[in-house]
């Protein structure tokens, strides 16, 4: 019985939302209420996850475990950012400027670093997976789109070449469509399995 209650709740809430989405004008009020609850619970779940993270790092500091200095940095940064946001307001321009002063350079540098790491990873792909239909087409495609991205061929303004470029640029859309349909079918199936109680990501 204890196991059945979460399955029942997941199934009923899922069915209610599906029914409310189908009978839109009549059940719009109910849908809004349920979605509001979901937003609140998702926010509290995120806060609980953050609290768990902070507790784990606090334990690390108290027990002076290896690498506790990183935990000090994390908790210190969290407290400064959180207290600042709660006292000054999350829309305060000065507060946002300080947050951006740390986030923007760190994130931009990480993205820049990703460019270097990706170049190395792309080369490693051929070493690890060898020559296959996937790796060869990936390599050729990357090379072709890198050249096309430079815009030199388009700048020549040769009509026949422009037609070829048009076809080349349309080619990835075929794979993209296939991948999107595959992912869509997978997500649809998983959603149905959750609503029917066959899949229980919230625990047994």
């Amino acid at each position: 019985m204890k196991k059945a209650i979460p399955i029942l709740i997941a199934g009923l809430s899922g069915l209610l939302v599906l029914v409310a989405l189908i009978w839109q004008p009549q059940l719009a009020g109910w849908l809004e209420v349920v979605l509001n609850w979901a937003v609140i619970i998702a926010s509290v779940a995120a806060l609980v996850a953050m609290a768990t993270l902070l507790l784990a790092h606090t334990r690390k500091i108290i027990m002076v475990r290896h690498g506790f200095i990183y935990s000090v940095i994390l908790i210190g940064a969290f407290l400064v950012s959180f207290v600042g946001g709660m006292t000054a307001g999350v829309e305060n321009p000065s507060y946002l400027r300080w947050i951006a002063a740390i986030q923007q350079p760190a994130e931009a540098s990480l993205l820049g670093l990703a460019a270097l790491v990706m170049a190395a990873a792309a080369l490693r792909l051929f070493h690890q997976r060898g020559w296959s239909a996937l790796t060869v087409s990936f390599g050729i495609s990357a090379l072709v789109f890198l050249v096309l991205g430079l815009g030199w061929l388009q700048a020549l303004q040769i009509p026949q070449l422009d037609i070829v470029i048009g076809y080349l640029e349309a080619l990835p859309l075929v794979g993209m469509r296939g991948l999107l349909i595959g992912m869509g079918l997978g997500a649809l199936l998983l959603g149905l399995r959750i609503v029917l109680g066959l899949e229980r990501p919230y625990g047994e």
């Binding site: 350079p105 990357a142 595959g182």
Partner: protein
């Protein structure tokens, strides 16, 4: 350039160097930058969630009823309290109920969103290529359009077959049928082409960010030198 600009510029400069120190190996400075970013971001997100969601959607309705609970306010409050109990090892299982509710709602939204927003438009865009107005011009078949439509249909089918892993017993070993194997190889080519294009797109973005960040540092140093 005032003192605040200099301090913010110095923070950005230091963080950039700390992140790029990863090129020398996974070191203290890189890890410190990551932990700092996680701490600042999570603190900001926590403040936003409390001030923009919890206070207006959960606490304000209770205050509006002068502290009296109505069913519409008590249900989310109870579910939230059950979630908070997950912080204590003995009451972790109490969080299953709110999580089950959340998962159910998300699953339903996924079903509706994916079927209306992804599957229907993608399938229709393939089917619509076979519409009589496109595959005919002046009553004559437009072979170019027909070939293109068939090519796209076969490409999509081949990509889907790449993820078909059902095997049959062939002698002593299990293997995919010849047709599936062939289609899967064609599908792999299309997936490779798509990944190649996506790789270049992401690589170009990352490279642009790298150049922009290096440009910002150069400008900051020049402004410090020139005053």
């Amino acid at each position: 350039m005032n003192a605040l600009d200099v301090i913010i510029g110095l923070i950005g400069f230091a963080l950039t160097l700390m992140v790029f120190s990863y090129l020398l190996g996974y070191n203290f400075f890189f890890r410190a930058a990551l932990y700092l970013l996680v701490g600042i971001s999570s603190g900001y997100i926590a403040a936003v969630l409390i001030t923009k969601v919890i206070l207006p959607l959960l606490i304000a309705p209770i205050q509006a009823h002068n502290g009296q609970f109505s069913p519409l306010t008590v249900v989310p409050l109870l579910l939230c309290l059950l979630l908070v109990l997950m912080l204590f090892p003995r009451t972790v299982s109490a969080g299953k109920l709110p999580l089950a509710f959340l998962v159910g709602v998300m699953a339903a939204l996924t079903i509706a969103g994916v079927s209306r927003g992804t599957l229907a438009p993608q399938l229709l865009s393939i089917v619509n290529r076979f519409s009589p107005s496109l595959v005919q011009t002046d009553g004559e078949p437009a072979w170019g359009q027909i070939l293109e439509a068939v090519f796209i249909l076969l490409g999509v089918v081949a990509v889907l077959f790449t993820f078909h892993h059902r095997t049959h017993l062939k002698g002593d070993t299990e293997a995919r049928s010849g047709l599936v194997e062939g289609l899967s190889s064609v599908g792999q080519v299309f997936i490779g082409i798509t990944f190649g294009m996506l790789f270049v797109g992401f690589y170009t973005t990352a490279l642009t960010a790298l150049i922009a960040q290096l440009g910002t540092i150069k400008d900051f140093i020049l402004s410090l030198i020139t005053g």
